[in-house]
């Protein structure tokens, strides 16, 4: 009896160490949430069914943690053995007791007052490796904190804000490195993805998402437009430990809406790329939008799944893209397998064998305006997708809207917005938020659920047969993963712009979501 309790107590006492092996097997620790996506593959599914279709109607608020509210609260918390770590806007970071929400430490990184913050003051969350936490700062730095007390151990520059760089994504911890990309596409930067040594913060490699002079792909940019061609890898990618490959979605080219000053395909903007995690060398790429002129980046989660494809077991990559298409690629070779529209679209006539899209006659923005679907924000965007392996269903939230796109030639100035145009909502045309369950083999919708407004909330799938998501009016909802039927809802009182997570402590399952300036945690009574 006594030894049994001691074992329970040991579980309660927090193992602060999260070695790489635990990250590789993160899905086999459904009680924890160890990376931004919850697992290296970006699947966002948890084998937890205490909360399920039968009882989710009883879900109620367990605790709430208020952060100093100062910008959109886009964090995805990490949970490590009963302790929750999360970031908040303006350089804030916290550790709390995951059962009670009581604070264990807090820390604030001071952002220089005069800094230009290209992505606002937001932050999307931590990476954990060993006993350390890693976070980006809005002015373009990478911090390493001691998970025991939040003390800052080192702080390095990823990209100087003076040149229009920023960093908002959660870093990805791989082996002994932290992988993070820059933001700043709207400021005409030249994007890159970096790897830093987890112990010292020293940069190990840098991969430019726009090839330099003399490198293959540079010829896809007219003149010297590549120098300010944008293409920042501003979201968190995924990783296949067996193949040793990183998968990253790359930002759109700059200027966003004026393609005349950067003729050519503009590689590797609006592409999905596979890089060798050790060296940062490009292994393959697939460009979703050659020469994009709609701000349609490919930064959405490149999700990894192993399934039978036409009778053959295959390592696949799924992406619900900003341009309104669902893509399936072979993630070993980058071969294009399928693309199917999930949103209203009027820009593509289809694809050639290689998967290159065939554009409709006139899709570019014009001085007088051109109505194109989807709208500037998509389609899909950084709202996390999810995949339920039991139901073999891919879930995503996206915007159903169209925009009028205008081009306006613009002079480039370092550190200044470089859009080359603008866009407008279309009067009297309905726009809404949509959650869709897709059959990944056909791209056909199994069901869809409409929200009143386009919404920035991602999805979470559980073996309880549930899909959690939410909307811009503040509703957090649970849908039946099989049918899309609404099973539970609560108005959280503020619009949300991240995705929920679930975890378990001492045999009790919890659901956590950031809303407004609060982190809300729900459980069954």
């Amino acid at each position: 009896m006594r030894s049994v309790f001691c074992a329970a107590l040991l579980m309660l006492a927090v193992r602060a160490e999260v070695p790489y092996e635990r990250l590789v097997n993160a899905s086999s620790e459904p009680q924890n949430w160890l990376t931004y996506h919850g697992d290296y593959g970006g699947v966002r599914h948890r084998e937890l069914d205490q909360i399920n279709t039968a009882n989710v109607k009883d879900l109620r608020l367990e605790w709430l943690f208020q952060v100093p509210k100062s910008g959109r609260f886009e964090t995805v918390p990490l949970v490590v053995d009963g302790v929750m770590y999360f970031t908040a806007p303006e350089g804030h970071a916290f550790a709390v007791d995951a059962r009670s929400g009581r604070e264990l430490w807090r820390r604030r990184h001071r952002i220089p007052e005069n800094a230009l913050l290209v992505g606002g003051s937001i932050n999307r969350g931590f990476a954990v490796l060993g006993g350390r936490l890693y976070m980006a700062t809005p002015e373009g730095r990478l911090l390493c904190l001691d998970s025991r007390n939040g003390e800052e151990l080192w702080d390095v520059e990823v990209g100087p804000w003076q040149k229009g760089f920023g960093a908002t994504s959660a870093p990805l911890a791989v082996k002994d490195k932290l992988i993070i990309g820059v933001a700043g596409g709207e400021y005409g930067v030249r994007g890159y993805l970096d790897a830093y040594d987890a112990a010292t913060g020293k940069r190990v490699w840098r991969w430019y998402s726009i090839p330099g002079k003399g490198e293959p792909g540079n010829e896809t940019w007219s003149g010297d437009s590549w120098l300010r061609g944008g293409a920042p890898p501003w979201m968190t990618g995924t990783y296949d430990p067996q193949l040793g490959l990183l998968y990253w979605g790359i930002g759109n080219p700059a200027p966003d809406l004026d393609g005349d000053v950067r003729k050519g395909d503009n590689l590797y903007s609006s592409s999905i790329v596979a890089l060798d995690a050790n060296t940062g060398k490009l292994v393959w790429h697939y460009q979703t939008m050659p020469h994009d002129t709609h701000d349609w980046d490919a930064a959405q989660t490149p999700m990894l799944a192993d399934l039978d494809w036409k009778g053959q077991p295959r390592k696949l990559l799924f992406q619900g893209n900003r341009n309104g298409f669902f893509y399936v690629l072979d993630r070993v070779t980058g071969k294009f397998l399928m693309a199917k529209a999930f949103a209203r679209q009027n820009w593509s006539r289809g694809f050639d064998e290689t998967g290159r899209p065939i554009y409709e006659a006139s899709i570019d923005p014009t001085p007088d305006g051109n109505r194109i679907c989807p709208g500037l924000a998509g389609g899909a965007n950084w709202m996390a997708p999810a995949f339920n392996p039991q139901l073999k269903t891919f879930y995503l939230q996206y915007f159903e809207e169209c925009h009028t796109y205008y081009s306006m030639p613009q002079q480039f100035k370092e550190g200044k917005p470089y859009w080359g145009g603008t866009y407008q909502s279309i009067e009297n045309e309905r726009k809404w938020g949509n959650v869709k369950a897709l059959d990944p083999f056909t791209g056909e919708a199994k069901w869809s659920f409409e929200f009143n407004k386009p919404s920035w909330v991602g999805t979470l799938s559980t073996s309880g047969g549930l899909l959690f998501t939410g909307d811009d009016d503040g509703y957090l909802v649970a849908l039946d993963a099989r049918s899309g039927k609404l099973l539970w809802k609560i108005n959280t009182g503020a619009s949300m712009a991240t995705a929920p997570i679930t975890y378990m402590v001492k045999g009790k399952q919890y659901l956590t979501m950031a809303s407004g300036g609060a982190l809300l945690t729900f459980a069954l009574p």
Partner: protein, 256 residues
């Protein structure tokens, strides 16, 4: 809790002053500063202001800055004084220094003290410049913040003065098993401890049968040291004066 700063400052090499000098700022000093800096500036929880080696400067402007801004990340608070009060206080601080007391000097050898610190594995509970444990206080700046007498007492009789945030909590769980640690947080319904293995131990109070604060420090007394070893160790601790960065003291901000 013993008021250490009331003890004679043993290590002041010249003769100690029998009566504190009288000055207009004295009452301001006594009511605001003496708790940490001692009744006559001899130090205690704060550094010795009469004969210590200042780390923040010696000019009036330096003192004004330290007093009105405090030292972020340390117990030194910021103060706002009205009208002539600041001038009177500065006058009193000056008078503390003009008395013929030599600079307080640690008698031992800091390098040998460092070796003793390593040998006794003080870093199993303490941290200096980001290395070591987070269980006990960070010692990176302890030499700037404490008098020599206080440091000496901290080693031989740690229980003499235990700051509230480091008071030990002993918990007996519902089945009789025990945990002792430092309270990181507590409310009516939950308790968060850190144990000596530097793990968070998190309780719902319904899981606790008994809990109590320990009177003694969680640090064991080191009473077997030779006088020379003790001098050396105190010298080493006194030499720990951290780094001050542009943003002020970098260490320990919002950290325990």
């Amino acid at each position: 809790m013993k008021l250490l700063w009331a003890l004679a400052p043993l290590l002041v090499t010249a003769q100690t002053i029998s009566k504190p000098p009288v000055a207009p700022g004295r009452s301001i000093y006594l009511s605001n500063c003496s708790l940490c800096h001692g009744a006559t500036g001899e130090g205690g929880r704060g550094p010795n202001l009469s004969s210590g080696t200042p780390v923040h400067g010696t000019t009036d402007a330096d003192l004004r800055r330290v007093i009105s801004k405090g030292v972020s990340g340390t117990p030194m608070p910021s103060f706002r004084f009205e009208g002539s009060e600041m001038a009177q206080l500065l006058g009193y601080l000056r008078s503390l220094r003009t008395t013929r007391v030599a600079v307080e000097k640690a008698p031992g050898d800091a390098a040998s003290g460092h070796v003793i610190y390593e040998k006794l594995r003080c870093n199993a509970c303490h941290r200096i410049d980001k290395s070591g444990s987070v269980y006990g206080p960070d010692l990176s700046r302890v030499g700037a913040g404490r008098s020599l007498a206080y440091l000496r007492e901290s080693i031989v009789n740690p229980s003499a003065d235990v700051p509230p945030v480091y008071r030990g909590v002993a918990v007996t769980a519902a089945d009789g098993s025990r945990v002792t640690g430092i309270r990181v947080n507590e409310d009516s319904f939950s308790l968060q401890l850190r144990n000596i293995a530097q793990q968070f131990v998190l309780f719902d109070k319904s899981e606790i049968k008994e809990m109590g604060e320990r009177k003694e420090s969680l640090m064991p007394p080191y009473s077997n040291l030779t006088p020379k070893e003790l001098d050396d160790l105190v010298s080493y601790l006194a030499s720990l004066r951290g780094a001050i960065t542009k943003q002020g003291v970098k260490k320990g901000v919002e950290v325990r």
